[in-house]
């Protein structure tokens, strides 16, 4: 059966449109459809010629595969190969169209195996249509309508095969299948995105660059959207009362240069360890917190609250403190849990210097213009700070969308003058620059905002998306935090990072945290004992089962399925039991029949029952009994019905 007229032409046209080879596709389609009208050429398609054609086409397909693999890169080369399959395979359906009807299978087999096979006819046109669709799917010129077009072609091919009477059902089923297929492919695309994100989150520790205390590349001026990861990487257990939010600083920077914050102070101080206890400054802070986190590679910046004084229980080779407030740990285990004592009233940063007032030359006039227009410069530092905070709170909105290809990159100028939208890096950078221009020393600070408190874990969960930037300003002789990012930022980011697998990932994270906690809080001996107990509990059921089987041996072997004769006999027993004549417990079939017969020998059905019991024994226990006699027995029981014998019920 050849594909219905026009189907292959349409498929090739779709291939042409989709792969950007419209002219080629349409020309090939017309050529192929035209072969239907070739008359008198049927005899030209001989088995011998067909075998050669098959060899030729296969050779061309393989040669193209080799070429594409050599010339291109995987997987693009594979797609290129698939794309050109339809034109290369075209001669075969064309031969079928010329021959009319079908093609013999023999030449296809003969082409490779060198021997003829039985005369079976095959249809290559529908398979060719499928290959053409796959070829078309390698292009994406008509992506929005490709699925619909493919579904129409497939529906056409299927409906053309059924009789007109059954059309309606076929079309309805094709529509249902297409709808299901649509849902499936949309789901697949979403699944891939989710899996990629999950994979990226799982591998983030291994591939993301380590935070650098001397340099922070912001995304100011980037395009696209800020990508957020929902993964929990740190847990903070506050000591005492629970604050609404905890800002944990990783690093502060003092020089801004074209989207990048740098640190001019490079000197650092090594801390002395006092038995896993590290003293950053004097005092044993009134506030406490415990941090559990991973430090990939055993080296990284610690996110600490401002005013941290003592870090306790942190096994590390060295701790370095930068003058601007960053603390870098080296040589730690991957997972650590440590306590921090801090006093947030203490400003622990280096005193304000000249660098903390510098602004880029290019932005100076712009900043001055904004300060003048908005009246940001107050009499005192505190007034200026408030004015700046008010300015951002009233005019600006939070957005994770950065510049796009149409409107181009957005710098601080666009943020301040044009769209008033951005994420925390924009707000923090603009705040620092405005404060500096208004005469207040300020620094750019990055770290995390712990604000998601989990009642289950009794800790703040700090996710990668909680990464935050804010400003530190030197007002009235001390460093204070100025966070101008709209309060909705965390909510926005949570929505942006939300994934269907989120709860599952959280649960896995919680579970691993529990395991790690108990791992870290127990000695090696205790752990070994726990592992052995767990293993024993796991293995015990199997061992018991094995033991029971050994001991129980044959007595526990399950009886095989009852034979038809037994089933028939049981049904007879049941029928009589309903009349109160059933066998007594433990009574054998024959004893039962004999008892019933002895009770009233004159009743013929009782004699018949005895006969049946004897027949049952023959069927059950006589090794020479055949299947035939068993069938006879079953029939005899079945015939012992009320109609045939009033005695039986």
């Amino acid at each position: 059966m050849t594909a219905s007229p026009g189907l292959l032409g349409a498929a090739l046209a779709l291939w042409g449109v989709s792969t950007g080879q419209l002219a080629v596709g349409v020309a090939l389609g017309i050529l192929l459809e035209a072969t239907r009208f070739a008359r008198g050429l049927e005899s030209a398609v001989t088995p011998r010629r067909l075998a050669w054609l098959v060899r030729l086409v296969t050779g061309a397909v393989l040669a193209n595969l080799v070429y594409e693999l050599a010339a291109g890169q995987m997987p693009q080369s594979l797609y290129a190969w698939l794309r050109w399959l339809p034109p290369l395979l075209l001669p075969i359906p064309a031969a079928q169209m010329v021959a009319g009807g079908t093609l013999p299978l023999g030449p296809f087999v003969e082409a490779f195996r060198g021997r003829a096979v039985e005369a079976r006819a095959i249809d290559t046109t529908h398979a060719f249509a499928a290959v053409t669709l796959v070829g078309a799917a390698t292009g994406n010129v008509v992506e929005p309508v490709f699925y619909a077009a493919a579904a129409i072609l497939v529906g056409w091919a299927l409906a053309a095969r059924v009789a007109r009477k059954g059309w309606a059902i076929t079309v309805a089923l094709v529509v249902a299948a297409s709808a299901l297929g649509y849902a499936i492919h949309r789901g697949l695309a979403a699944l891939q995105t989710n899996v990629e994100e999950m994979g990226a989150e799982l591998l983030a520790d291994y591939f993301s660059p380590k935070p650098d205390p001397f340099r922070e590349r912001t995304r100011i001026g980037d395009l696209g959207r800020v990508k957020l990861s929902d993964r929990v990487f740190m847990r903070v257990v506050p000591g005492g009362s629970r604050p609404r939010e905890l800002l944990l600083r990783e690093a502060s920077f003092d020089r801004y240069d074209n989207g990048e914050w740098k640190n001019t102070r490079r000197a650092f101080r090594l801390l002395q360890e006092q038995g896993e206890r590290w003293r950053l400054r004097g005092g044993d802070g009134p506030q406490q917190m415990t941090v559990r986190r991973s430090i990939p590679g055993g080296e990284g910046l610690l996110a600490l609250p401002v005013g941290a004084q003592v870090i306790d229980r942190l096994p590390a080779r060295a701790l370095e403190v930068l003058p601007i407030g960053s603390v870098r740990a080296k040589g730690t285990p991957r997972f650590v849990a440590f306590d921090i004592a801090y006093d947030e009233r203490l400003a622990d940063d280096a005193p304000a210097g000249r660098e903390d007032l510098e602004t880029p030359q290019l932005l100076a006039s712009l900043l001055d213009q904004v300060i003048a227009r908005e009246g940001l410069k107050g009499v005192s530092g505190e007034q200026t700070r408030r004015a700046v905070e008010r300015y951002f709170a009233s005019r600006f909105a939070y957005s994770l969308t950065m510049g796009d290809t149409k409107s181009g990159a957005r710098g601080i100028a666009e943020f301040l003058l044009r769209d008033h939208k951005g994420h925390c890096e924009y707000f923090a950078t603009a705040t620092v620059l405005l404060l500096r221009r208004a005469g207040i020393p300020a620094r750019y600070t990055v770290g995390y905002s712990a604000q998601e408190y989990s009642d289950r874990e009794r800790a703040f969960l700090v996710r990668h998306r909680h990464g935050h930037a804010w400003a530190r300003a030197f007002v009235d002789g001390r460093w204070i935090t100025v966070d101008t990012t709209p309060a909705r930022w965390a909510e926005n980011e949570r929505e942006a990072a939300r994934s269907s697998l989120g709860p599952l990932m959280d649960w896995v994270s919680w579970l691993s945290d529990r395991v790690l906690q108990s791992w870290m809080s127990h000695s090696a001996r205790q752990l070994a004992l726990a592992a052995a107990t767990g293993f024993a509990l796991l293995v015990a059921p199997f061992a018991i089962r094995l033991l029971l089987r050994r001991l129980g041996g044959r007595s526990r072997t399950k009886a095989g399925p009852a034979s038809p004769a037994t089933l028939a006999w049981r049904s007879l027993e049941k029928r009589l039991a309903k009349r109160g004549l059933g066998p007594r417990p433990g009574e054998t079939a024959r004893a039962w029949a004999q008892r019933l017969h002895a009770e009233s020998p004159s009743e013929p059905w009782r004699a018949k029952l005895l006969e049946l019991a004897q027949a049952y024994y023959r069927v059950r226990f006589d090794p020479a009994a055949t299947a035939h006699s068993e069938r006879e027995f079953v029939d005899a029981i079945a015939s012992a019905k009320p109609g045939s014998d009033p005695g039986f019920i």
Binding site: S18, P75, Q76, L78, Y79, L82, F112, R113, G114, R115, D123, H126, A127, A130, L133, V134, A136, A137, T138, G139, N140, E143, F146, Y147, A150, A151, V154, A157, L158, R161, V162, G166, I169, T170, L173, V174, A176, A177, S178, A179, L180, G181, Y182, A183, I184, H185, R186, L188, A189, Q192
Partner: protein, 455 residues
């Protein structure tokens, strides 16, 4: 090297082929040709459309999946209730096509259209060793491509084990409560039992991708006789031989009452021969005395110990069957001697078993695991009664030569048919048959028909 390729592909592939074959059959039961195209599209799209960001192939995957899922649901129920009856011929012969009738009755009030009727044969499991020997043999005439791709050989082995090729039949429409008969065309591929298990009646769902199958259990067996060829007349010399107790055998032909006289009982006489009335009259035990009988009795010794392939054994069975079926004098007895676990001697002629009965035995004879000496023993045990022997052997080694030599030594004329594989071209040394080369025939398993016609 070629044999090595065949062997290693067979050995490595067998477990995989066996699984593949099961899946393949399951899919064939379910899918129509159009369904195969869509299923192939699904697999190709799953392979190439893995990355949804690289191409649109995943959309085709969705479409193919949707189609197959809908087709699966649509074909979940057959809505058929049919009664099926098959009328098989009593026996058939290997390789000879035959037709039989099947009557299908619709038990419901709905009309069913486009039904497809297929037979389900029981297929015994094929062992890996069996496959290796089968593939190596089949591959001998094939090219490297075939040797490397072993699956078609597995399929043909399974078909051979099933025993027949039966073309499915189609019923265009089956009216409400109506019955229709279809004729199924069948070719038995091997001798032995053909075990029919069930009949499968399929209805294609509206998408045309899958079949809804109704399996009606209908177990039946059909005996497939070995192929029989015409044999050129065979003149074996040999005189009549004494047949002890022969009268018991000669139920039909002439001298049934060969009673000669009465004589006194001698210790050791069977009590069955005591003439009770004479004893009563004379007062001492008297027995009846019979005249000894002399018949012409031929033995057909069938070697059931193949050394290699199955083909020569099958040819030998065919040869034996052909010899059994050739016209015999009704005065002659023919013993068929073969070993299957133990030695059997079955006799035909003079009113004993008909040729067709022995043919039934040959239809089911299988290769034996023992040694040829079992057959030699059985043959020599009966040798004194035999006028002439026909030996169908599968090789020409020392034990077989010795048997022939001993038979000839007892004055029994022997005709030897040595059936060997078509590829075997080793030299032939007639050995004990050197003095009677006319009665020593070497036959190619593939050219049996031609060889048997040679006078």
């Amino acid at each position: 090297v070629r044999e090595l390729v065949s062997t290693s592909v067979a050995r490595l592939g067998a477990p995989m082929f066996s699984r593949l074959y099961r899946y393949d059959r399951a899919l064939r039961r379910k899918l129509t040709p159009a369904g195969w195209v869509v299923a192939a599209l699904l697999v190709a799209c799953a392979v190439f459309g893995l990355n949804t960001k690289d191409s649109l192939i995943y959309q085709l995957f969705g479409l193919a999946f949707g189609l197959l899922a809908v087709a699966l649901v649509a074909s979940a129920r057959t809505r058929l209730r049919l009664a099926v009856k098959r009328s098989l011929p009593p026996v058939v012969t290997t390789g000879i096509p035959f037709e039989y009738e099947m009557r299908i009755e619709n038990l419901r009030d709905t009309v069913h259209e486009a039904l497809r009727v297929e037979e389900v044969l029981a297929v015994p499991r094929a062992s890996h060793r069996e496959f290796v020997s089968y593939k190596v043999r089949e591959d001998r005439s094939r090219n490297l491509f075939d040797r490397l791709v072993g699956y078609p050989r597995w399929v043909s082995l399974m078909q051979l084990k099933a025993g027949a090729r039966i073309e499915p039949a189609a019923i265009e429409a089956l009216g409400a409560r109506a019955a229709k008969s279809v004729r199924l065309h069948c070719v038995a591929l091997r001798r032995g039992e053909l075990r029919f298990e069930a009949v499968r009646i399929a209805r294609v769902e509206p998408l045309g991708l899958m079949k809804a199958n109704l399996r009606v259990r209908l177990p039946e067996t059909l005996l497939v006789m070995p192929r029989v060829y015409p044999v050129a007349p065979l003149a074996l010399p040999g005189s009549r031989r004494l047949q002890p107790g022969g009268v018991a055998f000669a139920g039909r032909v002439g001298d049934a009452e060969e009673f000669v006289s009465l004589r006194d009982y001698r210790p050791g006489d069977t009590p069955r021969r005591i003439h009770w009335k004479a004893w009563a009259r004379t007062g001492r035990p008297v027995v009846k005395q019979y005249r000894d009988e002399y018949f012409v009795r031929h033995a057909l010794l069938l070697d059931t110990f193949p050394s290699g392939d199955a083909a020569p054994f099958e040819a030998a069975v065919s040869l034996a069957a052909s010899l059994l079926m050739m016209p015999h004098s009704s005065e002659t007895l023919l013993d068929l001697v073969f070993v299957e676990r133990r030695a059997y001697t079955l006799t035909q002629g003079r009113g004993l078993g008909a040729a067709a009965d022995l043919l039934r035995v040959l239809a089911t004879v299988t290769p034996s695991a023992g040694a040829f000496t079992d057959l030699a023993e059985a043959a020599l045990l009966n040798a004194p009664r035999i006028s002439a022997a026909i030996c169908v052997v599968l090789s020409w080694d020392a034990p077989r030569r010795e048997l022939v030599a001993r038979l000839r030594g007892m004055g029994i004329p022997v005709r030897v048919w040595w059936v060997r594989d078509e590829g075997d071209t080793s030299g032939v040394d007639p050995g004990p048959m050197a003095s009677d080369p006319k009665n020593f025939r070497v036959v190619d398993a593939a050219n049996l028909e031609r060889e048997l016609l040679r006078p």
